[in-house]
Subunit: 348 residues, 2 copies
């Protein structure tokens, strides 16, 4: 049966990116929250295990439970901590919650990581709580003390050095424990930011850790394609799609692609993004519909119904597509719908 | 186990909206593509069947196959038509493709609907192909001739009357068959647009068929909530989240909500949308993260970790939320992630 759209994933390339990050940052854990950034936990984790990855981060309890089934021996950290009622399931799946408040420290007696907030103001212990946390944790040091950078993707941001300094202060107060500050961006901020463990996420999946700052150090691991359902000729001045937002400047050939925002191609990509067909770029025309996208293929020689169009992948970099969709690589990947099959291939 | 986020759906309200559309537009089919606009085919279809719905539209072959298992007797139309290689599966599941080109008309010999393009320039037979289609279909009239409005959500658009007129011309040329032009918006354009079948989609799911034009004629069927993981006090001038895009104008209480763009809350909602907690509105502050959103809850009396926040639902209309997220109700619903459980409840 012909599929109208699919996501090809190369797990070995994910593993190669993990090795790349480990080479750069030292000891590394893989961030596989949000179903491995949308690529599918079951497809990606075996390759990471084969590469020697033994530590993972997820956001939610349910993600940790799914990962435990795939990685019985791994150390799995759950960033959400211990929301009310989740303690027993965390314990029975041997998941390590990342505690972020004095209340959580009091409620959880098992093995734990500790999140210190150094400026995100999102999760983690606020600076004024660190001394009290140190008191309560005196006889049970966390297995990891971590924090998270707000601007790690921008090597020029003064926020990075500020957070580094606050993190060091917190570490000096807390019981001695392995420390972790850097995600993908932080890995490329230099050795000062590496501590005992780096936690790459987006870099594993081919997103540039610091977009706009030099060539992408990691490789492409995923390709989104859709099939052209129909071609039609339209005259100059004719419009395409809902609301008639695109008007052809010349007689044009429009391809209708079997992908839409229900597949995860953001509506904000309408009239902005493009696809690659037969090696040529074809701009999106009109609004993105739920199940369809119009492409101007007037300049694509030999184009035919049934052709495959690439929306990102080896021929169209992920970060470039994300910018044209009005977002970042992270949202582009995690927004890919379950309507599209993930197809795991051995090599790119 | 506590869930950190969930989507409550009221299938009986979907059925009531179907009845409302049928009252307005006459004979009606339910559009349930994209997994019933993200709400879950398996939860929604039984209620529609119980309401007497016997005809459905989906976009993709795979959706038709899933629907066939839930509705063995229903008439199921597949809007994508017959992409290369899909013929046998369409036939074996008794699915009716909506043909949109002369090539498809020649390739498909079974029961079929015909899509005439009257101005979307997306799918369907172009006007210049209608006469030839009529010739090829002489001895096998389609079970339905349909078209689709580009501006049905705007009763003031001149495009509606133009498309109506082109549709009538095509009908006059083609073999006699039942006709369908209106989706949810078209249902409210008056009797001229109803023909033999209307095809409501968004109206079934509580989205306003013509946003901005009078009160919403349909009722709320879905509620998205997330759980507050942590509360923190921040000083005036402190920032929240990635890139430090929000700065507090006063000493504030920030709640961190266990929802993010990996759940489908669009990143474009950052610093714009709001949630309802304990009956009060709490604005989003800072960027939406993959798994977390910051809310300013300074004015929410009695707020506590573990509180549930509503992002849309009975307390915050779907269309209002969609606008604050920078999109339309359709994308908001179909973008809801599989990470969130759908919980089907008997009554709102």
């Amino acid at each position: 049966m012909a599929l109208t759209g699919r996501i090809r994933v190369w797990p070995k390339a994910v593993a190669a990116n993990f090795a790349r990050m480990r080479r750069q940052g030292g000891n590394a854990a893989a961030v596989v929250k949000a179903d491995a950034y949308g690529l599918g936990l079951g497809g990606v984790v075996p390759a990471l295990l084969a590469e020697g990855c033994t530590q993972f981060f997820v956001a939610r309890l349910e993600e940790g439970m799914a990962l435990r089934a795939l990685a019985p021996q791994a150390r799995i950290f759950v960033l959400d901590g211990v929301p009310e009622g989740t303690g027993p399931a965390l314990a029975s799946h041997r998941l390590i919650p990342v505690l972020g408040s004095l209340d959580e420290i009091s409620r959880w007696q098992g093995e734990a990581a500790l999140h210190v907030d150094t400026g995100m103001n999102r999760l983690g212990l606020p600076p004024e709580g660190v001394a009290e946390a140190a008191r309560r944790l005196k006889d049970r040091a966390p297995v990891l003390v971590m924090s998270h950078l707000a601007c790690g993707d921008d090597p020029n941001s003064p926020m990075n050095a500020e957070q580094l300094s606050r993190f060091r202060e917190a570490l000096a107060t807390l019981p001695t424990a392995p420390a972790s500050l850097a995600a993908s961006g932080g890995v490329f901020l230099g050795k000062d930011y590496h501590f005992d463990l780096v936690r790459p996420g987006i870099g594993l999946y081919g997103g540039h850790p610091q977009p706009g700052h030099g060539p992408n150090p990691v490789q492409c691991v995923v390709r989104l394609t859709g099939t052209i359902l129909q071609l039609r000729r339209i005259g100059a001045g004719e419009s395409v799609g809902y609301g008639g937002t695109f008007h052809a400047a010349r007689p044009s050939i429009i391809a209708t692609l079997a992908l839409g925002y229900a597949d995860g191609v953001l509506r904000s990509a309408g009239n902005r993004a493009c696809a690659v067909i037969r090696g040529r770029r074809a701009p999106f025309v009109g609004r993105v519909s739920m199940d369809l996208i119009g492409l101007d293929v007037t300049d694509v020689e030999g184009v035919a119904a049934g052709d495959e169009a690439e929306l990102f992948g080896p021929a169209l970099p992920l970060d470039e597509a994300a910018a044209a969709w009005g977002t970042i690589s992270y949202e582009l990947l995690t927004g890919l719908s379950r309507r599209l099959p993930r197809v795991y291939e051995g090599t790119q």
